[in-house]
Amino acid sequence: MRETLSLTINGASRQVERGTTVAAAMLLAEQPCRISVTGGPRTALCGMGICFECRAVVNGVPHRRTCQLLCEQDMAVETNP
């Protein structure tokens, strides 16, 4: 049995399978992880914690590397401005 959990991504409620990384959840939700300094939307590139493109605001804490972070129940994730 696959266990799901729910979190919000940019305010919208999402269900994901337990074990999903926050970066993967943001890709599923088609939301950018961050907005670049010239305003472009960015999503994860390297998937291994090196490139910092996947950093987002998690439970109010900015610049979390979402590819290294697993989703948790009731987590609130937002695009890093």
Binding site: E17, T21, L27, C46, G47, F52
Partner: protein, 439 residues
């Protein structure tokens, strides 16, 4: 602060082998890794989905590590170290960031490698990933079933990634390898000396019978959808002809570059881009060893044998049969480097307005006229964002020939709150994972 005899940084194959070898000889061993679990990149396990066909080699190695008595501490990002015997990490927990300090007698650097990225027009679009990058995200729960994917770049990783994506239901329309057929044929012929690697390559290819595998081809542009900033197609060339392939996702990486920042910080001597080691994996710094990709991009088998050599060397032991295997794998690394050497046309991938430094959005044209890193950093902020040049550094070395100038701590951006607790032994006791303090 936690003391250990042997401290290993990196829980990929090299780090696991080193830690296991040292712990089995009754040394106290701690292994630190930035990722949420052990395995490194090549043995990255899927965190979602039901049980899959287990990678038995990985499973056995991790079980043996657990039995050895070595302590694995995952989620620890090493941001500072000094050769006299300390390493500092931070861990991001639900309640905030926690710094920890470790004291070692011997240190094994098993920091692995990352993908080399080359900037091309459109490479910052959502839908464009590293090759290993997309694979890692899929293992982290991003479903690719039904998605049309182009895999491109160079290196043996491309076939492995394509096979993995296809198994997950992606429609891998092409694998585009920039190396020429002649280069690859010479490499493949050399694999007869190493049948296990040949069988693995053949297995990957067999899983991709619906996919076109083209050599001497590369992606020159990622094209955005008319509806908005997301990938819709790639422009591909073979040097003579250019065409467009529609795709939802692009997985593009140009082989690997070693993670050597920590080795540079503690003052290890380098040989070219790699950490110089002797036949016991000793670096130029006393009591600091290095194993796996930072000593040369040689893959899994080399990492395992070098790791074991380093782990034994920490206990002042050696094994002649391991040395022989290490020499063989070293020759494999040299052949791989030749086979996947970057073609000169890739120097002209970026256009003047192509972003080279993704952290600071520095365009290629703003780098022209600068003589090197120091100048460019001061004038453009290139390489000064959170990745600290890990992505643009190797790209710029390829494009402009600039070698990195210096490495400084912190090696990764550290939250200030973590530094406030610096050296706080009380913080250690809050950690979920009790560690025996072995003085």
């Amino acid at each position: 602060m936690t003391r250990t005899e042997v401290l290993v940084v990196g829980a990929g194959p090299a780090g696991i082998a080193a830690a296991t070898a040292a712990a089995e000889k009754r040394r106290s061993v701690i292994v630190l890794d930035d990722n949420p679990s052990a395995g490194g990149q090549i043995w990255r396990g899927a965190t979602v989905g039901g049980p899959r066909r287990a990678d038995t080699q990985r499973q056995r190695a991790i079980e043996r590590l657990q039995r050895s008595g070595a302590h694995l501490l995952a989620g620890r990002c090493v941001f500072s170290a000094d050769a006299s015997g300390t390493v500092q990490t931070f861990e991001e927990t639900a309640s905030g960031s926690v710094a920890e300090e470790f004291r070692f007698q011997q240190l094994v650097l098993a920091t692995g490698a990352r993908e080399r990225f080359l900037p091309f027009p459109g490479w910052t679009l959502p839908g464009v990933f590293g090759a290993g990058g997309l694979q890692a995200l899929v293992k982290g729960g991003y479903p690719v079933a039904g998605k049309r994917v182009v895999v491109a770049g160079t290196g043996p990783l491309l076939l492995a990634v394509a096979a993995h994506l296809a198994k997950d239901g992606a429609v891998v329309s092409s694998v585009l390898e920039q190396a020429t057929l002649a280069q690859l044929a010479a490499f493949a012929a050399s694999l007869w000396e190493d049948p296990a690697k040949l069988v693995q390559a053949a297995r990957f290819r067999a899983k991709l019978w619906k996919t076109s595998y083209r050599t001497g081809c590369w992606v020159v542009e990622a094209i955005a959808a008319t509806a908005g900033p997301r990938l819709a197609a790639v422009r591909v060339t073979d040097g003579a002809r250019t065409w467009i392939e529609r795709c939802d996702l692009l997985a593009c990486g140009y082989h690997l570059v070693p993670n050597t920042e920590l080795a540079a910080l503690v003052g290890c001597r380098f040989q070219g881009s790699f950490v110089q080691v002797d036949d016991a994996q000793r670096t130029s710094v006393p009591n600091i060893f290095c194993a796996g990709e930072p000593t040369g991009i040689a893959g899994l088998d080399a990492a395992l044998v070098q790791g074991e050599i380093a782990g034994l060397a920490c206990t002042r032991r050696s094994d002649a049969s391991l040395q022989k295997r290490a020499a063989k794998e070293h020759a494999f690394a040299d052949r791989m480097e030749k086979a996947f050497a970057l073609r000169p046309e890739l120097h002209s991938l970026p256009r003047p307005d192509t972003i080279v430094c993704r952290c600071e959005d520095v365009r290629y044209d703003s780098l022209r006229g600068h003589t090197g890193w120091t100048d460019a950093k001061l004038q453009t902020r290139c390489g000064m964002g959170p990745c600290q040049g890990r992505v643009c550094g190797p790209a710029i070395e390829h494009l402009l020939g600039w070698r990195p100038v210096s490495v400084r701590q912190p090696l990764f951006p550290v939250p200030l709150e973590a530094l406030c607790f610096h050296d706080g032994t009380t913080e250690m006791s809050k950690s979920n994972e009790p560690i025996e303090e072995k003085a």
